[in-house]
C-alpha cells in the first residue's frame, strides 16, 4: 500500500502530541475540576517561545525547556487573578485569553511573524538522515508521552494528587482540612499548561513551521473531546481517546475522493459526526471509554 507506513507514522505522531496536550487538560479538569477552555493558548505559547528564543540564538534544547517553563508561567499569570472567579466565569476568561494570544500572534509581526508565521528554526534530531526523520520524531514523541504519563501517574497517586482530587470533589473540605486550595489550583494549571507547552513545541517541530491558525479555540475542544471520550480523571483513557480521535480525523481526511462532498463541507461534517458520537457515548457510557462507572453513579 502506498499510503502505508509513512501515513501511519504521521498519524501516530499527531496522536502522541495530542495525547500529551490532553493529559495536561485532564490534570486540570479530570483531577482538579478546573474548567479551562483556553488550553490551546499554552500550546501556542510553548511553541512560539521556543522558536523565537531559538531564532534569537538560544540553543534548541535549552529553548525547549524555556518554552515549557514559559507556558507554565503564563498559566500562573492567567490563573492568579482569574482563579478567584467561579468555575464558569473562569472558563470564559480562559477562552478570552486564548483568543488574545492568537490575535497577538497575528498582529505583532516584529515578534511572531504575523499571519505568515515563523519558519527556519533548529529542529532536534536533525542528525537523523531524512528518510528516517519521521520515525525518529515518532520515537521522541512517544518517549515524551510515556515520560509525561509516568510523572503524572506518580503525582496523581501521591498526597499531592490526593489534595487535587479533594478540591475536585469539594474544596470546602480541602480548606477545612488545612489545604491551601488556591495554591494547589495554581500548581495544577501551571503543570497542565507546561504540558500543553511541550505538546505545542513538538507540533512545531513536526510541521517545521508555526502559524497563528494552528491555535484556534477549536483545538482546545479537541482536547476536551479526547478527555471526555476516554473518561475524565483517567490518564489511560485520555491516551486511548487521543488515539481514537486522531484515527477518526485521519480516516475522514482521506475520503474526499470517495465522497461527493467538498473538503470544507467535510471538515464541518467531521465535527458533526464527532458531536453525534459524543452524544451517543454520553447516553450509553457517560463515564467515557475507560472511566469508572462506580464513580459516576455517585454524582447523582
Amino acid at each position: 500500500m502506498a499510503i502505508g507506513i509513512s501515513y501511519i507514522i504521521s498519524l501516530l505522531i499527531l496522536f502522541g502530541i495530542y495525547a500529551i496536550f490532553a493529559l495536561g487538560l485532564n490534570l486540570e479538569w479530570g483531577f482538579t475540576g478546573i474548567l479551562n477552555f483556553g488550553h490551546v493558548a499554552f500550546f501556542g505559547i510553548g511553541a512560539y517561545s521556543t522558536v523565537i528564543l531559538n531564532q534569537m540564538g538560544v540553543p534548541i534544547y535549552i529553548a525547549i525547556v524555556a518554552g515549557i517553563i514559559i507556558a507554565g508561567l503564563f498559566g500562573v499569570l492567567v490563573a492568579l487573578p482569574a482563579m478567584r472567579l467561579r468555575g464558569d466565569y473562569f472558563a470564559i476568561v480562559t477562552i478570552g485569553f486564548s483568543e488574545i494570544v492568537r490575535y497577538f500572534m497575528l498582529n505583532e509581526e516584529w515578534l511572531t511573524g504575523g499571519p505568515l508565521g515563523l519558519r527556519d528554526f533548529d529542529i532536534p534530531l536533525s542528525f537523523v538522515p531524512s528518510q528516517y526523520y519521521n520515525i525518529a520524531m515518532l520515537i521522541l514523541v512517544l518517549a515524551l508521552l510515556a515520560l509525561t504519563y509516568l510523572i503524572l501517574k506518580a503525582l496523581i497517586n501521591s498526597p499531592w494528587g490526593r489534595v487535587l482530587k479533594s478540591i475536585r470533589e469539594d474544596e470546602d473540605v480541602s480548606k477545612a482540612l488545612g489545604k491551601n486550595v488556591f495554591r494547589y489550583k495554581i500548581q495544577s494549571i501551571a503543570l497542565g499548561s507546561a504540558i500543553a507547552g511541550l505538546a505545542g513545541i513538538l507540533l512545531a517541530f513536526n510541521h517545521k513551521y508555526l502559524n497563528p491558525n494552528y491555535y484556534m479555540p477549536l483545538i482546545t475542544f479537541y482536547a476536551w473531546i479526547i478527555v471526555i471520550l476516554g473518561g475524565s480523571g483517567n490518564n489511560k483513557g485520555t491516551i486511548l481517546g487521543a488515539l481514537i480521535f486522531w484515527t477518526f480525523m485521519s480516516l475522514t481526511r482521506f475520503s474526499p475522493g470517495y465522497l461527493p462532498i467538498s473538503s470544507t463541507d467535510l471538515g464541518a461534517l467531521r465535527m458533526v459526526i464527532i458531536g453525534l458520537l459524543l452524544i451517543v457515548l454520553m447516553m450509553y457510557k457517560p463515564e467515557g471509554l475507560l472511566g469508572n462507572k462506580e464513580e459516576l453513579k455517585l454524582d447523582i
Binding site: A154, R162, V163, K165, D170, V173, G178, K179, K297, D299
Partner: protein, 256 residues
C-alpha cells in the same frame, strides 16, 4: 481553667438577615462544651465564622491566645482548630481511606516536588498515615468499607467519616456540627465515650446538638443561642430549667 477559644461581639449579616448578632462566648480548654438553640439561631453560621469560611462584619475571635478572625480557613486548621459540616461533605469519588489520609498536616508528599524526587520518604510517611487511618476506621466500624467510594456510604457512615477525617488532623479543638444526628444509638454512645477519652487527653470539643439528653450527658457547660445571640450559659441542669431557654425553644418573643 484556661480559655482556648474566645469569641467577642461577633456580628454577621447576610443581605438583611442578621445571622449572628453580637455573639460572645468562651470555651475552656479540655472540656466538651455544648451549643444549642432553635433552628436558624445562627449556630452553624457561628462555626462558619470561627473557621474562616465567612469573615465577620465585626467582632473578634481568639484561639490559643492568637487572633484568628482574619485568617483563611486552612491556616486556622493549621493552628489546631478543625470543624465538621452539618450537611456532610464526603469526598464522593475518593475512597474512604483516601478521605482520611488527606487530613494530616504538613505531609511531605503534598508538594509538587517530593513525590518525584523523594518517593521513598513520601512512601514511608504514607505508611504511617495509613496506619493511623486504619486505627480510626477500625474504631468507627468503617474498616470493611475502606476501599469503597465515600459517596457510597450511608448518611450515618458519612458523619462518622467526617469526624474521623477531622480527628486525622490531630486537632487541639474540634467544632462538631450535629455530628450525632443520624448515627445509631449504639454507635452514638461509643462515639461519645471516644470523645470523652480524647477530652481526657486534652482535646477540646465544642458541639452543636439538638439531642438534649445527649448534651446533658456529654457537656460540662452549655451555651444557648437564639436569634444570633447567646441567651444563656451554664451547666446542663441549670440550662434545662432556664425560662429564657424554654421560651426560645417555644418561640416566645421577648419584649425590649
Amino acid at each position: 481553667m484556661d480559655t482556648i477559644l474566645s469569641v467577642k461581639n461577633l456580628k454577621k449579616t447576610f443581605d438583611g438577615i442578621t445571622a449572628v448578632d453580637g455573639c460572645t462566648l468562651d470555651v475552656e480548654k479540655g472540656t466538651i462544651t455544648g451549643l444549642i438553640g432553635p433552628n436558624g439561631a445562627g449556630k452553624t453560621t457561628l462555626f462558619n465564622i470561627i473557621t474562616g469560611f465567612y469573615k465577620p462584619d465585626s467582632g473578634e475571635i481568639v484561639f490559643k491566645n492568637k487572633k484568628i478572625d482574619q485568617l483563611p480557613t486552612y491556616k486556622i486548621t493549621h493552628q489546631g482548630l478543625v470543624r465538621t459540616f452539618q450537611i456532610t461533605k464526603a469526598l464522593n469519588r475518593m475512597k474512604v481511606i483516601e478521605n482520611l489520609m488527606l487530613s494530616p498536616k504538613k505531609q511531605t508528599g503534598e508538594s509538587l516536588i517530593w513525590p518525584i524526587f523523594n518517593p521513598k520518604k513520601v512512601g514511608k510517611e504514607e505508611e504511617e498515615i495509613r496506619d493511623k487511618a486504619m486505627e480510626l476506621l477500625e474504631f468507627f466500624d468503617l474498616m470493611e468499607l475502606k476501599d469503597e467510594y465515600a459517596g457510597a456510604l450511608s448518611g450515618g457512615q458519612k458523619k462518622l467519616l467526617e469526624l474521623a477525617r477531622a480527628l486525622m488532623t490531630d486537632p487541639d479543638m474540634i467544632l462538631l456540627d450535629e455530628v450525632f444526628a443520624g448515627v445509631n444509638p449504639t454507635l452514638s454512645n461509643k462515639l461519645l465515650d471516644y470523645i470523652k477519652e480524647l477530652r481526657d487527653d486534652g482535646v477540646t470539643f465544642f458541639l452543636i446538638e439538638h439531642d438534649i439528653p445527649l448534651v446533658m450527658e456529654a457537656c460540662q457547660e452549655v451555651y444557648v443561642m437564639s436569634e444570633g445571640k447567646v441567651i444563656a450559659k451554664g451547666e446542663p441542669e441549670e440550662i434545662k430549667n432556664d425560662q429564657k431557654v424554654l421560651d426560645a425553644y417555644l418561640g416566645v418573643v421577648h419584649e425590649g
